[in-house]
Symmetry: C2
Subunit: 213 residues, 2 copies
DNA sequence: TATAACAATGAACTAATATTCACTTTTACT
DNA sequence: AGTAAAAGTGAATATTAGTTCATTGTTATA
């Protein structure tokens, strides 16, 4: 007998894998999924092309993992920040606020995660990513209904609708081509989104619109 | 002198081009944009590989044209069918009805036009396609506001939001994997979408939800 | 019918990358 | 040290289409 994997070697393997993932994430942030090649990844990570395949069985496998990591570390609603209030309306507003705040912080990345053309295997991750948002919204809506704050509605459909609204609205600031949307424009956009959603979901919708009339 | 293009030859060229486009559209309906290759297209159309390039300067150029044609011939709101009523609420309902009716009639095609990964050049067409829907909704919303039927709101944002709602809601029936969603489920989905949108956009939203309470 | 211009063809060419693999280096254990 | 097992390497391989182009076929005029 001779060689056996030990804690040290396993730690080393994990570190190598981490180098790859972290280099890949950087590349995706810079240029999106489409322009990531194994050669570029090898260069950036400092490992050899062949080594990539010691850690991932294919490029798609790697991209899947990269998508998951990027999504969960950068664009995921934090329920702690939502549950600061137990009023479902405020929870919904907080969730949207959080969404835009995260999404606009790294617009290249948001574009990649939400809109960029990706291989089918990764598309599955995108669906899970969106479904995750929908789950949060669905919970808030159910709570709001039980609090008599929200109208009787199908929570799943409304949750999906909110995801659709966000997905489509986010395109507006992201298309502010290579410039940043002015802060006051952003604030207006977020407020309008919140109002639109609240009108669709809650009793009285957004109250302020009644005073205006 | 010798050869000059005439009506006959021009008609022939047009016919050849039509063969290509129509074969391409069939392929996209069957397998989506991603699986269309020039060789398959040549086989299906009966022309030679090289001939494709007499009519389109590149594959992307062809796909762009195919996308445009498929979109405008299969998934475009017909304003005549919307303007049967001059009540903006009814117009909005009619538009959504029309959207789902068209989109569910050919689900593979809808999937390709709305969701499938496509080259950037074609993505531009998709944006125009969506913007076209948004334009229609925006008009309806403006009219509804001037009729005092709709709340004061930013028409462009609301229109985009509606597009997002439709885009995301359509995924539900399309994911009814290779089976058709039962008719009653479809009807419910469409109604719920309409109600959601009306609540967000109009005074009183969907009146029926008030009686329920 | 000769011919100039164009259309049609499809085998060959290209290009871009994912993946492999023979070889080297490192590790862990006797 | 000796060695078995695994990790690391990167040039070579494989694959997959998109695109080209030399050749052949067709059309319209003189």
């Amino acid at each position: 007998m001779a060689y056996r994997p030990t804690d040290k070697t396993r730690a080393h393997m994990a570190a190598q894998r981490h180098k790859l993932l972290s280099a890949a994430e950087q590349l995706v942030r810079e240029q999106g999924f489409g322009k990531l090649t194994i050669t570029k990844l090898a260069n950036k990570s400092g490992l050899a092309v062949g080594s990539v395949y010691k850690h991932f069985k294919s490029k798609d496998d790697l991209l899947e993992q990269v998508y998951k990591d990027l999504a969960s570390n950068n664009l995921t609603l934090d329920s702690k920040q939502i549950l600061v209030s137990d009023n479902a309306k405020e929870q919904l507003s907080a969730a949207l606020e959080q969404f835009f705040s995260q999404a606009l912080m790294a617009d290249k990345l948001s574009y990649a995660l939400f809109y960029e053309a990706i291989p089918p295997a990764v598309e599955t991750q995108r669906q899970a990513f969106k479904a995750n948002y929908a789950r949060t919204f669905s919970q808030i809506i159910k709570q709001g209904m039980s609090q008599q704050l929200f109208l009787t509605q199908e929570p799943e459909l409304s949750a999906n609708a909110v995801v659709g609204i966000l997905t489509e609205s986010l395109l507006i600031p992201l298309n502010w081509q290579h410039q940043q949307m002015p802060t006051f424009e952003r604030i207006k956009l977020i407020q309008q989104c919140q109002q639109f959603c609240l009108r669709a979901i809650s009793y009285n919708g957004d109250e302020t619109s009644f005073f205006e009339h």
